[in-house]
Amino acid sequence: MDQKDLNITFKQGLRAMGWSFLMVLFSTCQDSLEEIPKAFLTPQNFYETAEDALLAVNASYDHMASGTSNRDFGGVYFNNYWVVQALASDEGSASGANNPQYSLPLTNFTWDANNGYLEDVWEDLYKTINVTNIALQQIPIIEMDEDLKNRFLGECYFIRGLMYFELVRMFGDVPLSLEPTVDLSTISISRTAVAEVYAQIIIDLELARDQLPWAYSGVDMGRATRGAAGGYLTKVYLTLGEWQNAIDEANDIIQSGVHELMPNFGDIFKIENSNNSELLFSVNFTLNNDAIWETSQFNVRVLPVELNKNSLSWELPTQYLYDLFDPSDLRRDVTFKVEWTDSSSGETYTFDPHIFKYWDEAAEPNASSSSSDFFNLRYADLLLMKAEALNELSGPTNEAFELMDQVRSRAGLDGIDITLNKEAFREAILLERAKEFVFEGHRWFDLVRTGKLKEKVLLAKPSLSIDMSRHILFPIPQREINVNPNLVQNPGY
């Protein structure tokens, strides 16, 4: 072999060496360039067992109570939901000590699309919907006990129906998302008409009603029941003016005998009576050293600063609301206090009326974070809803008076005047609701549903200007309009 051949051979060898060197590198590296999450779950390695299904269902309860991940500040019913209902009505006013830029406009009916409280409510409701959408998509394909599976699905249908019911009442037409997001393609869905949203709500709540048990035991107490689904169906039909349907749904629950009024109004709010039989549905909070956003915020917000504890007088009842109560009404002094005596020092403090009904002083002397639950729907509500539907359908019937009197007699009041006509009875129900459900997250809905928002708010806050074409819906949060070009704002905003 001469020098030239040798050179060629060497060059070939070199080339071969180079290529094989590269080939080996590429092949060994391709494998190790795969990313494998080991410290968190992904949808690809979750939703496989009945246990996973339960954890997926639980996510929606978690979102209603303690937090929706990114916001990290309580869930749907933690605070802003009931604060908005109270402030935007004749029921409450903000002191301005907390987020005055949001709370005062709600009090004064000058809110706009940048109101942070409304954005939080929207965010929480939709994040909860997303969680139910995921569970409803994933659970059906899990191999597990069919009865349990149906219950799980029922719970999710209930919660999704409830969330859309809150949304459609507050914002009108809303984007109707029934499947979990997988990519950017769903970034801009449009608003769905109210009627169509309600149709979906009814489908969801009926599925829930038919798949859920009347009651649970042990650690499952507090989950959605047939009573919860039926109770909300009653409310949906009442809102839609489908009186007979509302009566039928209410009857189903009343005849079951599962639910009843607590004999003593004040006992409803006692910590030890969590998940009592008056409650068709409640969202559970707890006071626990480990719990941060799992505690309830009622006491911190609504008890007076004068207690020298951790309470801050952020939301106050209107004087008008306080004055609605007859002094003989047993509910008045449970619901409010205007003075309080510190049992350790013996000193007495006086103040404007503050909401005291959520404070179980004996159980939680600190008046701070609390275990008290949010009462979404009580049996008293169901009774008054049925009375309202009966009145609307066929005027005030004896049955309607009798239902109303069940609630009144617990409050230590006489029976309602049976000579009331339809309109007067309608008014009486609205008044009864005002006194029965103070700061329970119903008032703005009730006033809008009955068309009396302007009339009643002006009684409590005379200087305001209320626009019945504008204030019966809240604006779509500006953030959502900014990020979704297909959303059109509600009229007047």
């Binding site: 590198l25 190790s32 494998i36 991940s69 950017l184 650690v219 507090g222 559970n284």
Partner: protein, 926 residues
């Protein structure tokens, strides 16, 4: 000129870094006793490299510096340059987890800067393209010292430094605060709280109690070199003890470095370096965006209170907290719970240790005369452990006990680079070719424990088991990179040089997809080409141009996966668990890719003058943007590649080095203009900027606007007469003495939609000037540096100027406070939301010029040294941060609350104060 490019180990002789803008070397003398005194490695980058913007994030010992090369190259990803230390690439990270109070110590600060031989900043495309998918934001090359030529040498150096705060806001004293509280009451229509404010005298000066008058630094180092014909060995041992200017804080650093270089035969060369470093740091709560830290606490805490008061109470006329049961009223000045800064510094502290083992070996072997093989192996292992304790005394209203935490993190980083290179000379023409591959992997594991409710608070983080409630956590982050590359360089007649880089990169973060990143460079030696034949006084000049693509992959791992996280809730009192979705997969996510184009030239004149000028334009076509998502998608945002941003600018450097008479004179001046713009945001306008004291979304990404544009309300002026036509934030009637904002959309309301651009956080201009003069054994060195054309959001003003009465304020604010008697005042009597509004009053010009370093040294004359048989003795005095010219009203215009985070630059709030440092020391060489 070309000799300046001697330093490219990873690409050996093929490293053609056109334009020495990228490679103005830090003079080795910078590290000798006669010059500047650097404490942190990143200080080597300050003021010397055109277009390199260095910002000190916090003044805490060991805290991070933020480095930007040629503007901010990313908004939602990291924009820091890649560090390559002894050939091993990595990104600097900061130990600022939830388990550490304060800004945290960064891992780079472990390495003693005195043992660095050379630092270079690569920004030119042909230089950064060598680093492919991690080159887009520039590359910092750092090499530790190798043994000198002497057969044997030992030197010992020590200095003692004195750190002092150079500026603090002047706050109201006791009587001033009482008078101010009276005025607040009067403005609100209330009675006077204090009948005679002057009775309160000076009161407590919380700042004086919080800060040390002088904080000491002590530093000792010993350096040993041994060498023979073909092997040299260098070793350094050093110890530094730095007290922090905030009481209870400080840093100790231990270093052991060694480097062995050998050339056993003609064909083979070998070097191996090792750094073994440890730091121990104590820190307190500073740099806290929520405003709970000691610095903001010292601003806010009432001077009428004493050491035993934990919460910020209102006191009564006799100076006693009024009407509480045990003499402690809960009549807090503010709903935001401000803690006594002294109590906080004593009862909430953390202790961290970091150990770093850094090892690198490089072997080069000439297979034939033309063909050679090179390989490098490296390991960088970091262990760090954090301990913190939050005493129960700080939570008087809660009975949960103290909280102790302990976290251990281990980071393992391995690296391999290998290539074959081939060189062919044909007369005056040279062809060089190279193929090779780079592999790297990083694994970060975390284990943490937290416990609260200790039975006995003498026990703490070393006895987590004794707490009542315990939680543990763990995490893993794993990344792998791979790149294959080929490089072809052809030099024609020593005049024209063409360099082609072909590289393909993949990363596990982006699914292992390969991205092609080529670059092409051209250089012309103007002297050799005969262009300068008439100009004999020019000893060398070049013209160069380059274009190519580089990438950036500084973004969280696992973004291509949807994530479910555990969350708890309660039914009754039973804790239940759930898994909730916290992230939607960005399954198409790719690395950021920038197209860069450079054009420039340089020259050297015979008398020692040199200069260069370069234009660059870097466009990132798929910048990371977190697109806000409608909430029905379940998440607030999704990271995409939808942005387009561009940084373009001009860099100029001038240098001079010569002997004039008896004087050796050395000058370096550099200046860089940069314009960073958002070309397209890929969505609607995107607001960002993390929460500071309840204010967020203070930055905006908007098409055609600067990167880091500040967004807030514009001020109309003071309300002097009540008018219902004045739009307000809360919809209430505007009060006299409040601020009125411009209602930009004229809807009668002031809200987020009325915000406008108020400036931007990145400077248009970064410059530096340094000089050294030596004669008769003396030397004098100075380094000035500065920036211009940037704004800072001074969130401190929300506290210092907030005259709602919720805490102490600055003296100046009180003088400017509007009141019935001072209607000229321009600070409002009250503001909605406690003044937590980003408006133009917070946005300030951040331009400054600073004498950053100063030193005088003296080398003892040879005659004297010979008598005492030593090689050299040098004594020196040096100063850091000597003076600053700026209009900025805060403590320090060179500041960044959120460390080096690209999406949160330009915020100043409650940072650990930076200090002026004077030091004296000496060095003995044997």
């Amino acid at each position: 000129m070309k000799s300046i490019f001697i330093f490219c180990f990873s690409w050996s002789s093929l490293c053609f870094a056109y334009g020495q803008l990228d490679s103005m070397r830090v003079e080795p003398s910078s590290f000798s006793g006669s010059s500047f005194n650097y404490v942190h490695l990143d200080e080597l980058l300050i003021g010397k490299f055109a277009g390199t913007w260095v910002t000190q994030a916090s003044g805490a010992p060991g805290s991070d510096y933020s480095i930007r090369v040629r503007g901010s190259g990313s908004i939602f990803g990291g924009a820091e340059p890649l560090y390559v230390i002894n050939g091993i690439p990595h990104y600097n990270t900061v130990n600022n987890s939830a388990y550490v109070y304060g800004s945290g110590v960064d891992f780079l600060s472990l390495i003693d800067p005195s043992n660095i031989k050379e630092v270079k900043v690569l920004s030119n495309i042909i230089a950064t393209a060598q680093y492919g998918s991690r080159g887009a934001n520039g590359v910092i090359l750092i090499e530790t010292k190798v043994g000198a030529q002497e057969a044997f040498s030992v030197d010992f150096q020590t200095f003692t430094g004195y750190q002092n705060i150079y500026k603090l806001p002047t706050l109201l004293d006791g009587s001033g605060f009482a008078a101010y509280q009276n005025d607040v009451g009067t403005n609100d229509g209330n009675d006077l709280i204090y009948t005679n404010p002057s009775n309160f005298g000076k009161g407590s000066d919380w700042q004086q109690r919080l800060y040390r008058k002088t904080a000491l630094i002590q530093n000792y180092r010993i350096n040993l070199n041994v060498s023979n014909n073909n092997t040299s060995f260098s070793m350094l041992g050093s110890y530094m003890d730095q007290s922090g200017i905030v009481n209870q804080s400080g840093l100790k650093r231990y270093n052991l470095q060694a480097r062995l270089a050998s050339r056993p035969n003609d064909r083979m060369s070998f070097n191996s370096s090792m750094v073994l470093a440890r730091s121990e740091s104590n820190s307190v709560l500073t740099d806290d965006p929520n405003g709970y830290g000691v610095v903001t606490g010292a601003y806010l805490f009432s001077p009428l209170l004493g050491s035993s008061d934990i919460l910020n109470y209102q006191v009564d006329n006799d100076g006693l907290p009024n009407n509480g049961n045990d003499g402690r009223s809960l009549d807090l000045l503010s709903s935001h719970k401000i803690l006594n800064p002294i109590a906080l510094s004593q009862n909430a502290s953390s202790f961290s240790t970091i150990s770093r083992l850094f090892w690198s070996s490089r072997i080069s072997y000439d297979i034939t005369d033309r063909l050679s093989f090179y390989t490098q192996l490296g390991v960088d292992e970091i262990f760090n452990e954090d301990f913190s304790y939050f005493g129960s005394v700080l939570q008087p209203e809660l009975s949960v006990g103290g909280v102790g935490m302990n976290a251990k993190q281990q980071s393992f980083n391995w690296f391999n680079e290998s290539y074959l290179s081939y060189q062919f000379n044909q007369g005056a023409n040279i062809l060089k070719a190279k193929i090779g591959a780079v592999m790297q992997g990083t694994l970060v594991e975390l284990l943490s424990g937290q416990s609260r409710g200790f039975d006995n608070e003498k026990l703490g983080y070393y006895a987590l088991g004794s707490g009542a409630a315990k939680t543990i956590g763990s995490n893993l982050d794993e990344v792998q990179w791979f790149a294959a590359m080929a490089n072809l360089d052809y030099k024609l007649r020593g005049t024209y040089d063409v360099n082609l880089i072909l590289r393909t990169d993949a990363s596990s973060r982006f699914g292992g997809d390969f991205v092609f990143l080529p670059a092409l460079g051209f250089n012309m030696d103007l002297k050799a080409a005969g262009v300068l034949s008439g100009a004999g006084w020019i000893s060398g000049a070049n013209f160069y141009a380059g274009a190519g693509r580089v990438g950036n992959q500084q973004i969280s791992s696992y973004l291509r996966f949807s994530q479910l996280d555990q969350s708890i809730f309660y039914l009754g009192n039973t804790e239940l668990k759930s898994f909730v979705p916290t992230r939607i997969a960005s399954d198409q996510l790719q690395m950021e890719i920038s197209n860069q184009f450079d054009l420039g030239g340089d020259f050297v004149v015979r008398n020692g003058l040199m200069g260069s000028l370069e234009y660059y334009n870097r466009t990132t076509t798929n910048a990371f943007i977190a697109i806000p998502m409608p909430f029905y998608n379940g998440v607030a945002s999704l990271v995409t590649n939808s942005g387009v941003i561009r940084n373009a600018g001009i860099e100029m450097t001038a240098g001079f080095k010569n002997q004039i008479g008896k004087f050796d004179w050395n000058v370096n001046a550099n200046i860089a203009f940069n314009s960073g713009k958002v070309i397209s945001e890929g969505s609607s306008q995107i607001l960002y900027g993390s929460d500071v004291y309840g204010m967020n979304d203070w930055l905006i990404i908007a098409e055609g606007e600067a990167i880091g544009a500040i967004y807030g309300l514009e001020i109309n002026g003071m309300v002097t007469t009540v008018g219902t036509d004045i739009a307000t934030l809360d919809g209430e009637v505007a009060k006299v003495g409040t601020v009125s904002y411009k209602d930009q959309n004229e809807d009668g309301l002031i809200d987020h939609s009325d915000r406008v651009l108020l400036g931007d956080v990145t400077p248009d201009l970064v410059y530096g000037f340094s000089t050294k003069v030596s004669s008769y054994g003396f030397d004098l060195s100075l380094l000035f540096q500065g920036v211009a054309g940037n704004e800072i959001v001074n969130f401190n003003k929300v506290i210092l100027n907030n005259i709602n009465g919720s805490g102490n304020i600055s003296e100046g604010a009180y003088e400017n406070m509007w009141s019935g008697t001072n209607q000229q005042g321009n600070l409002p009597i009250s503001t909605p939301n406690d003044g937590k509004i980003v408006d133009e009053s917070l946005v300030e010009n951040g331009s400054y010029l600073r004498l950053k370093y100063f030193s005088i040294g003296y080398n003892l004359p040879k005659i004297l040294l010979e008598k005492i048989k030593v090689q050299g003795i040098n004594i020196f005095i040096s100063g850091n941060n000597i003076f600053t010219l700026t209009k900025y009203s805060g403590i320090n215009p060179d500041v960044s609350l959120f460390n080096s985070e690209a999406q949160n630059m330009g915020a100043d709030f409650g940072g650990y104060p930076s200090t002026k440092l004077w030091s004296v020391g000496f060095k003995i060489s044997l």
